[in-house]
């Protein structure tokens, strides 16, 4: 009897283990098989999304969103701005922040996409009916009054796998709009410096890249425990590259003869690498900082006072964060923006990030209506500036004037994120973002930042011409990127001139093997076509 019970227990256990394993492995994603026509009957009323009653009595739909940026500073849809967005749209977002660069690729491969995906990458792969709903079909069914800007639609179609468009990119503004912006500069890499230390050293001349080298030497001599130049993860040496006339972090570079080449083919590239190599040989930058891709980890060197200069994204909130966090450790620490020391940067952007509505979205109707609101003037301003009449009012020129409470809170980035939370700017234009960031900035810092606008130019035609990832040229571009991760580091950290020349020649040889010439030829022709087609 006892043996029989044992046998039965063993049987049951085995059965349970087997069935659990099989069921979890074979879990199908039925939602992802839905087509646009399948959902025509799915509405907010009949949708599967979790619903709860919001403050104003209307039902709230919860949508899961994947934010494909591992540096995203907030991880909840809370604060005055998100709550107001929720009231206006009836949508509450549940956030998942990317752990690394490869996570989205893995999600696409396994077709495990949440309701919404907000990303700057994989735009062409996601622009497919296999993974996402097309905006045009959803707009036709659920938001017929949503009329996105023609340029945004055309840009989205330029990387789509069919004739539909699957997203709209935010943060796009024309060169004329940037020019007319009253203050600040378009988003780009910059260098921050420790003003207190700079002044303690007697404010040495710092106007050119040669001066920068001299100042680094002085820092090394007077502050041996400090690394002269800290590198902010992804931003690495981008500002220096731009000042020396190289790509400044852009993949392609417009040449004087009108051709468009991959940045490794531009003549200024070698000059930049030589400068970087000199910095590395003299110990002004460290291999460890160069290897670190995670922005949040990189910031620690700046906060802890381990570096004098720090490369990062140009924005008042970055400056504020540096000061707030550093002063927690050293109350005398004072960061400021270093004005450009050479040529102005350029950009090749067709917008920044797009929101995709995946085929597994619980409620596509609510999702497209949410996107519609985020791209409306009200939604754009609310997401970046707060509530009109409370957080800001518009002056006679239509520019936001912020409340004292807003300005006071902004002095502490953490408090700002907690109280207001400006990080759901899914549909803003570049200038909306700029005004939200700069209109309440102190005069002195504002002048330093605005200096980055002089000579700045954007080439959207290059961005639109960029090959889709599945094309031959797209593969070449991806392979070059992969190759350069290691080879560029080798060149920059070469121990002497001979090794530098050898590593540089090797880098160029590898680029040729991968097909950089074919890519350059393609881009030059394609940009001409795009300019003619879009009238740019």
């Amino acid at each position: 009897m006892k043996a029989r019970t044992k046998k039965l227990t063993a049987l049951l256990l085995t059965g349970c283990i087997a069935s659990t394993g099989l069921l979890s492995g074979c879990q199908s994603n039925n939602e992802s098989q839905k087509t646009a026509s399948d959902v025509s009957g799915t509405s907010a009323a009949s949708g599967d999304g979790k619903k709860e009653s919001s403050d104003n009595g209307t039902e709230t739909t919860e949508l899961d969103i994947f934010i494909d940026m591992n540096w995203w500073p907030v991880d909840t849809f809370t604060g005055i701005i998100p709550e107001e967005i929720e009231k206006k749209t009836g949508v509450k977002l549940n956030l998942t922040i990317a752990a690394d660069d490869n996570q989205l690729g893995l999600m696409i491969a396994s077709k495990e996409l949440p309701d919404l995906v907000f990303t700057t990458k994989d735009l062409d792969r996601l622009s497919s009916s296999e993974f996402c709903y097309s905006y045009n079909e959803l707009i036709e069914q659920y938001a017929p009054d949503f009329e996105p800007e023609e340029l945004l639609v055309n840009i989205a179609k330029s990387f789509s796998t069919d004739d539909n468009y699957y997203t709209l990119l935010n943060c796009l503004s024309t060169n004329e709009e940037w020019e007319q912006a009253p203050a600040g500069a378009p988003g780009q890499a910059c260098i921050y410096y420790r003003k207190d230390i700079y002044e303690a050293m007697g404010s040495p001349k710092l106007e050119t890249t040669e001066d920068l080298m001299d100042v680094c030497a002085k820092v090394q001599e007077e502050y041996p425990d400090m690394v002269p130049l800290g590198l902010g993860g992804f931003w690495k040496l981008q500002p220096i590259s731009a000042w020396l006339g190289a790509s400044g972090g852009n993949t392609y570079q417009m040449q004087e003869d009108g051709s468009v080449v991959h940045y490794t083919s531009a003549p200024e590239y070698k000059e930049y690498l030589q400068y970087a190599n000199e910095m590395a040989q003299k110990g002004y930058i460290t291999a460890e900082a160069y290897a670190n891709e995670n922005e949040n980890d990189s910031h620690q060197q700046a906060y802890s006072g381990s570096c004098f200069l720090y490369t990062w994204y140009l924005s008042p909130s970055s400056l504020q964060t540096l000061n707030t966090e550093s002063q927690k450790i050293n109350p005398d620490a004072q960061w400021a923006v270093l004005q450009p020391l050479g040529q102005a940067n350029y950009n090749t952007t067709k917008g920044w990030a797009g929101t995709f509505i995946s085929k597994s979205c619980k409620n596509p109707e609510k999702a497209i209506q949410f996107v519609q609101y985020m791209f409306s003037e009200e939604g754009r301003h609310l997401s970046k500036w707060g509530r009109e009449g409370i957080e800001y009012t518009l002056d006679e020129q239509g520019l936001p004037v912020f409340s004292d409470e807003w300005k006071e809170t902004k002095k502490d980035p953490d408090a700002m994120n907690e109280k207001y939370n400006q990080y759901f700017y899914l549909g803003v234009t570049g200038v909306d973002e700029l005004l939200g960031d700069y209109m309440d900035m102190a005069e002195e810092d504002l002048a330093d930042c605005t200096a980055y606008k002089d000579g700045y130019v954007n080439y959207p035609e290059i961005a639109i011409a960029t090959p889709v990832s599945s094309s031959d040229e797209g593969v070449i571009e991806a392979k070059l990127k992969e190759m350069l991760k290691a080879e560029e580091a080798k060149v920059i950290f070469s121990s002497d001139e001979e090794e530098f020349e050898k590593n540089y020649a090797n880098l160029q040889e590898n680029a040729k093997k991968i097909g950089v010439d074919q890519l350059n030829e393609y881009m030059t022709e394609k940009v001409k076509e795009v300019k003619a087609e879009y009238g740019l």
């Binding site: 085995t14 460890e288 290691a486 991968i514």
Partner: protein
């Protein structure tokens, strides 16, 4: 007819045990055999936007992706790293647990033996993610080791343990030995425990010393276990041998500075296949590695039979 009845009767009698076997077979079928259909992708111009049916309907391109990989500028380096790291791990991580198990077995103090055993196998339960974090704390330029060495005046500049490409292979092998040595020691200890004490007593009477007993009794008696473990390790050579840690180590501890020596075929497949979405190409590259592994397991089994008369199959 009679034979069938006997078979059925026999099966019913063994039913609880057979269920264990069947579960394993079903698992293998679903998760290992059926997905093999995906191998066809390596020979086709497949794009994920084509969906599952695209695997069958996409254009046949033959060996295009295999040729692309072999002609890749990084091919030689990838193979060198994969084979180099794997062989080093085999050379060091395979014999060390055997030596450690023998040493532990010779210990007289049972308490100390248990303490050493527990401490040595605990790292097995720590994930590589945690270990990479710990490594950073210990080995970065401002980490404990560099700070200590500098404060003792042994080095003038911090050593780039995590960034120097020349140090990656050694670091990978050492960390693997530290993490997995204790775990595999248990397997060999279990085999040693099974050796008849009569043999040791007889040898002692014949005047055999401790080393002689180890050499002539312990090691020959655990030879079957050593051979099986060796064949398994060889079969998973490119995965990192006993621990199968190559991918995790390379992915978590590799960076742009040491990529020259840390990038292996598996991380390349991951980066190309998933990050760049080239599933067909990644399948072809993965298949090349699997084919080499298959050859290795068959040849190691063959040589094992020739040399020791024992094999896995």
């Amino acid at each position: 007819m009679k034979k069938r009845e006997t078979w059925g009767k026999e099966f019913r009698k063994q039913l609880p045990l057979q269920i264990f076997v069947l579960s394993g077979i079903v698992y293998l079928l679903i998760f290992n055999f059926i997905p093999m259909f995906g191998i066809i992708m390596g020979f086709k111009d497949y794009d994920i936007v084509m969906g599952v049916e695209g695997i069958f309907t996409s254009e046949w391109v033959g060996l295009k992706y295999f040729r692309e990989f072999v002609n890749d500028y990084n091919f030689a380096n990838l193979v060198k790293n994969t084979v180099g790291i794997s062989l080093l791990k085999l050379i060091f991580t395979f014999p060390i647990p055997i030596i450690f198990a023998v040493m532990l077995n010779e210990m007289k103090c049972l308490r100390f033996k248990k303490l050493v055993q527990t401490c040595s196998y605990l790292p097995h339960f720590i994930s590589w993610v945690i270990i990479s974090g710990i490594s950073f704390q210990f080995l970065s330029s401002g980490g404990i080791i560099n700070t200590l060495l500098m404060s003792l005046g042994l080095i003038g500049q911090p050593i780039g343990f995590l960034t120097d490409p020349d140090l990656y292979w050694g670091f990978a092998v050492l960390s693997d030995v530290w993490k997995e040595m204790g775990w595999w020691t248990i397997v060999f200890l279990a085999a040693i425990v099974g050796v008849s004490q009569d043999l040791y007593e007889a040898a002692q009477i014949d005047g055999a010393g401790r080393l002689q007993r180890i050499w002539h009794i312990t090691l020959p008696c655990i030879k079957p276990t050593i051979v099986v473990v060796l064949i398994l390790a060889l079969g998973n050579l490119f995965g990192g041998g006993l621990s199968g840690s190559n991918f995790e180590q390379s992915y978590l501890m590799g960076n742009s500075m040491n990529k020259e020596t840390s990038q292996i075929i598996q991380t390349y497949v991951f980066e190309v296949g998933l990050a760049q979405g080239r599933y067909a190409y990644a399948t072809a590259v993965g298949l090349i590695q699997s084919a080499i592994s298959l050859v290795l397991i068959f040849s190691s089994n063959f040589f094992s039979k020739k040399v020791s008369g024992m094999g896995l199959f």
